[in-house]
């Protein structure tokens, strides 16, 4: 996937907010995932996979929701009626669940056990959905044309949308790469399904956030210079 090539210059406060929120998310996930590594506490993803992944998912969801709320202050979503907003939020939750089930099915097609470890696979699906789909739901809303513009036409604006595009693709790629260590004969606890894929997913998401922040930075400065001259 090539980087978004949009030339629209975002407003300054959106630009700074996006960069700051990216850094905040990266730090948050890193702290939640790698600080308690092998500590046998409730946040340890190796021994308490389900519980810790639930916490990570919850924190990613809340942060993205907050980002979404901040961004939507400028859009016309806030001006719509309350019932419309509630319906939209419920629909969004439904889409999120659908995405989770979709990723669950994909994981089974990739060879995850069908009868055993259902909750593990489901948690993996939920994590992938919350890094790859949920930010999109928060920022792009339910309008399909927005999604198409961002994901299949490289038409993301230089702001939260490009962050969504890059981080979604890189978190899926990360989860895909995360499957590589499973067959190795090292006999480690963390080689259990789905820990490596979850960690790969999170690492991919973090890389995506960092890359998109850098991309944003570079493009923004380029464009501003261009505009000034």
């Amino acid at each position: 996937m090539s980087a978004p090539m949009n030339t629209r210059l975002p407003s300054k406060d959106v630009y700074y907010f996006t960069i700051r929120s990216n850094i905040y998310l990266v730090v948050l996930i890193a702290v939640l995932t790698f600080l308690p590594w092998n500590t046998e506490t409730i946040l340890d993803i190796v021994s308490q996979t389900l519980r810790s992944s639930e916490i990570i998912i919850a924190s990613i969801l809340t942060s993205n929701l907050l980002i979404g709320v901040y961004v939507s202050q400028k859009s016309n979503f806030i001006k719509k009626s309350l019932s419309y907003r509630i319906r939209a939020i419920l629909k969004g939750a439904c889409y999120y669940m659908l995405a989770t089930c979709f990723f669950h099915v994909i994981a089974v097609l990739y060879g995850a056990p069908f009868f055993e470890n259902i909750s593990q696979t489901f948690h993996f699906g939920a994590l992938l959905a919350s890094t790859a789909v949920f930010p999109g739901l928060c920022i792009l809303g339910l309008n399909v044309s927005n999604w198409i513009r961002v994901f299949s036409q490289n038409g993301a604006d230089l702001g939260p949308e490009s962050v969504i595009q890059i981080s979604a693709v890189s978190s899926i790629v990360g989860a895909w790469v995360g499957a590589f260590p499973i067959p190795l004969d090292w006999d480690r606890d963390w080689q259990e399904w789905p820990i490596t894929c979850m960690v790969g997913n999170l690492l991919g998401y973090m890389t995506g956030l960092v890359i998109s922040a850098i991309h944003l930075c570079v493009r923004y400065n380029q464009l501003r210079k261009h505009k000034v001259t």
């Binding site: 090539s2 097609l109 990739y110 513009r149 038409g155 067959p183 004969d185």
Partner: protein, 891 residues
């Protein structure tokens, strides 16, 4: 790779006597120490089954404590056939021998049984019919049980035990061999910790006890009787065997004599080699030691016989080993021989003394010296088995690399003389390597010239192509993969490279099936994604033009004006495409869980494990029948009615033959003997279907190519060669194939080639194959064969093992027809096929040479190398079909 030379000829008692007499005059001759011997061989009896404190084999354990038992180390491969050979000949199979001896032909070399029959003794055998294939000439009486149905673990053993009362009361044997298979079958079925194991061990315990009691009663003629209990190989914790892990190689070896030993025996802690049984047993029976023996006389066992006998036995063992050494490596025995002669002199001096003067200290000293000679001799022999012929290996790798690079550059302009030089020098090298197997005759001028010319070829090409090569490869990639959607095409290249790199790790070699499943699933999902993306683009043309400079390749396939006119039919098509891909993915997922293979998750239950349970026979039969019908229905679309009837008959005969062997259930039809006749009938049908396309009267439908008919014929053969439960896999493959026919997954011919090769690899593993030799289904070689014939069995075995890749290559050829390839396309297809096959081979061969002292080289890397080589041969033959088809047929 080192090939071991076998010492041909059988040693006779006379020569043994003569040789030992000439070295040490007055040495005591061969003497029989036991009257009747019973060898109870329990398949997969690993050491802790007998020696652990809470073993179910309590009676045997009690007997052992009064006698002698050892922990023996079996050599790899821990598979029954090589183990039986080792137990009877004392030789260690080299790696190549495993391959050469896959079919159990009659064994012609020297072994204990041949010695027995030469000496006019009677050998009686009951058990695994592998023995009968190997040694049937030497048995007075025998009855074999087939180890074909792993699910049966009671009947195989009852068939052995039921002979016991008669044999033991008659007692007219000299050696009775009982080979029990039940434990091994339980291991394969349920693993060593299953609840089935203790009852089976108790049953074995009773058998051993009964035999021992009867032997005590049979005592006569002044000589005691001997009962030997051993396992041929162990059992891993997953229940399989074949590798070199501790539990697979450690087996018990118990000598239970009816004459109680004077010295205390019990379990001896030190480990011995399993083949040490051979010289020991030979000496105890008063037979010459088989000439290929590498075993070492077990002193614990001959201790009873007195110093004079002991030394004589050792002398004979030493002479035999030195003879073998001289035969194997002329000149290498000179240093050992000096030491040996001094020992012999000491021995004769000791003999010349009167019995009163002989000191036990001196005897002990001689004994130690003999043992040293034996150790030196065996280590010299075995060292050769593990030395590598490095110059030869490097030459081969260089040859491979030049071939590969030549191929890569052949895109450009093949300069004739370069190719000529290359071919000639390669031929010379091959001739040279096959002629000289030993290490250093390599300084000859011919060798140097040919290597130099290879180098010359390399450098010329490199110089010539330096500038254009990079562009060439890029150009080729772009042109050949662009058609299939850039995402899928790019991934086909990336995946091939990824697989090549993954082979450099032993775990990924063991779990290679995971790689292929992963890659093939990914390509399907990528296709799904790109279909969905294009759908969106096409449904919203206004948005598509929003940023047309970057997204124009999505639009290129259908210009804007067309989109609006047939949007409805287009979205229908896309829905169809998504559905197709979903079917493909689902079929791939089911095929994946059909057979567990590899190493790490081998113990997990799979669908086949459940299907082959005896209770599910009816279900299996129904499933097989349904899948055969499905295959027929899907095929009949491509065939004329005559061909349809023929293939229907063929498929029915397959079912009939399976029913005759008892694997399936078929009412109302008589069962034929071992299903040979029906199998042959379906061979005939395959042949007729193939021939029918050339008949003048048959005008096949215009859209149907010859390849489709070949594919149908192959499917019938494929079903015939598979185990019954794998028939369902063929049905899945047929479904996938017919879906792919109309699918837009791959559009350019070269991308299709790579994609179908991937599908073939995935199919190869889903039928239960792996990169270990133990998983080759030997039974498939005997379909429709009455007895062993090297050529057809090897041929069928090859076809059956590589059935999946062959099927998908045929499918590729059929698909290629529909793509209407141009000449340039065809050229690229050849190139792509060759590169995909060669790339992994070239990299892997070089890697294995550098890693030749790796711990897993014998168990993981070399089998994979063999598989890769075989793979290359198969794809080479298939490519020849491709070339023939297009250069002779179409023009």
């Amino acid at each position: 790779m080192p090939v071991k030379k076998e010492f041909i000829g059988i040693s006779t008692p006379e020569t043994v006597l003569e040789q030992s007499g000439s070295l040490v005059p007055g040495v005591s001759p061969l003497k029989r120490h036991y009257n009747k011997t019973v060898l109870v061989l329990i398949d997969a009896l690993r050491a802790d089954f007998l020696f652990s404190p809470d073993t179910p084999m309590s009676m045997t354990k009690k007997l052992v404590s009064q006698n002698l038992a050892l922990v023996a180390k079996a050599h790899t491969p821990t598979v029954t056939l090589p183990r039986i050979k080792a137990l009877m000949t004392g030789s260690v199979p080299g790696f190549v021998d495993v391959i050469l001896n896959f079919g159990s032909t009659k064994y012609e070399g020297d072994n204990i049984l041949a010695q027995m029959s030469r000496a006019g003794r009677r050998v009686v055998f009951f058990g695994d019919d592998t023995w009968i294939k190997l040694f049937s000439d030497h048995f007075t009486r025998y009855e074999g049980t087939t180890s074909f149905f792993v699910t049966d673990y009671t009947e195989v053993d009852n068939n052995v035990t039921r002979h016991l009362p008669l044999e033991l009361s008659a007692g007219d044997f000299d050696l009775l061999i009982l080979h029990y298979l039940g434990l091994d079958h339980i291991g394969h079925l349920a693993g060593p910790n299953s609840p089935l194991v203790p009852p089976k061990l108790r049953e074995m315990d009773e058998v051993i006890d009964t035999v021992y009691r009867s032997l005590t009663k049979l005592q006569g003629e002044g000589l005691p009787n001997l009962l030997i209990v051993c396992g041929d190989h162990g059992m891993s914790d997953q229940g399989s065997h074949g590798g070199a892990s501790y539990s697979e190689t450690r087996v018990p070896l118990a000598f239970l004599s009816t004459q109680h030993r004077s010295s205390t025996g019990g379990v001896v802690e030190s480990e011995v080699d399993q083949i040490d049984l051979v010289p020991t047993l030979s000496e105890l029976l008063g037979l010459p030691i088989p000439s290929n023996n590498l075993g070492h006389l077990l002193m614990d066992m001959v201790q009873e016989q007195g110093a004079e006998e002991q030394l004589a036995s050792l002398l004979r063992n030493t002479i035999q080993l030195l003879n073998l050494l001289r035969e194997d490596q002329p000149g290498a025995d000179s240093e050992v021989r000096g030491f040996f002669h001094s020992t012999c002199e000491l021995h004769s001096k000791w003999l010349s003394l009167t019995p009163q003067e002989r000191s036990s200290a001196m005897a002990h000293q001689i004994q130690i010296k003999y043992n040293e000679v034996i150790t030196m001799a065996t280590s010299t022999i075995t060292k050769k088995l593990t030395t590598y012929d490095l110059p030869a290996l490097i030459t081969c790798v260089i040859g491979l690399w030049t071939a590969a690079i030549l191929l890569l550059l052949s895109q450009q302009s093949p300069v004739r003389w370069v190719v000529m030089v290359h071919v000639i020098s390669t031929l010379y090298l091959v001739g040279h390597l096959t002629q000289f197997q030993s290490v250093w005759p390599f300084s000859g001028s011919g060798y140097l010239i040919s290597v130099a010319s290879l180098m010359l070829v390399l450098s010329t090409i490199a110089l010539q192509a330096k500038k254009t090569m990079k562009d060439q490869v890029l150009e080729w990639m772009r042109s050949s993969f662009y058609g299939g959607g850039s995402l899928c095409g790019g991934f086909l290249i990336a995946g091939t490279l990824l697989h090549t790199v993954s082979l450099l790790s032993s775990s990924y070699v063991e779990e290679e099936h995971q790689t292929w499943y992963f890659l093939s699933t990914t390509i399907h999902i990528l296709h799904l994604m790109s279909v969905i993306l294009t759908m969106n683009t096409n449904q919203h043309p206004c948005n598509a033009s929003f940023n047309s400079s970057t997204s124009n390749h999505f639009l290129r396939s259908c210009p804007k004006s067309d989109v609006e006119s047939d949007q409805g039919s287009h979205s229908d098509k896309i829905r169809q495409e998504v559905l197709n891909t979903a079917v493909l993915l689902l079929a791939a997922r089911l095929m994946r869980s059909w057979n567990q293979t590899g190493n790490k998750w081998l113990h997990l239950p799979d669908i086949v494990d459940w299907l082959i349970l005896a209770d599910n026979r009816i279900l299996l039969s129904v499933l097989v029948a349904v899948s055969l019908l499905l295959i027929l229905v899907l095929q009949s679309r491509r065939l004329t009615w005559v061909q349809t009837i023929l293939s229907a008959t063929g498929l029915f005969c397959v079912f009939w033959s399976r029913a005759s062997t008892g694997a399936l259930f078929l009412p109302f039809v008589p069962q034929m003997d071992r299903g040979i006749l029906p199998a042959r009938l379906s061979f005939l049908c395959v042949f007729l279907v193939l021939v029918s396309q050339f008949l003048p009267g048959q005008t096949s439908r215009p859209s149907v190519g010859h390849m489709d008919i070949c594919l149908s014929a192959w499917t019938v053969l494929h079903v015939l060669l598979m185990r019954p439960h794998n028939t369902v896999l063929v049905a899945f493959m047929t479904v996938q194939q017919s879906v792919l026919c109309g699918c837009k997954l791959v559009l350019s011919p070269s991308a299709a080639a790579v994609f179908y090769v991937w599908m073939g690899r995935a199919a190869f593993f889903s039928q239960g194959n792996s990169n270990s030799i133990a998983t080759v289904d030997v039974g498939a070689g005997y379909v429709g064969q009455e007895d062993y014939n090297a050529f057809p069995v090897a041929f069928l075995l090859g076809l059956a093992t590589y059935a999946g890749p062959i099927y998908w290559f045929m499918a590729f050829l059929a698909k290629l027809n529909t793509l209407n390839p141009s000449h340039r396309d065809l050229h690229q297809v050849y190139f792509t096929v060759a590169v995909t096959c060669l790339l992994s081979m070239v990299v892997y061969a070089a890697f294995v040479v550098t890693e030749r002292y790796h711990l897993f080289v014998w168990t993981v890397f070399l089998p994979k190398l063999l598989y890769l080589g075989m793979d290359l041969v198969i794809y080479y033959l298939l490519s020849v079909i491709l070339v023939l088809k297009y250069y002779l047929w179409c023009e």
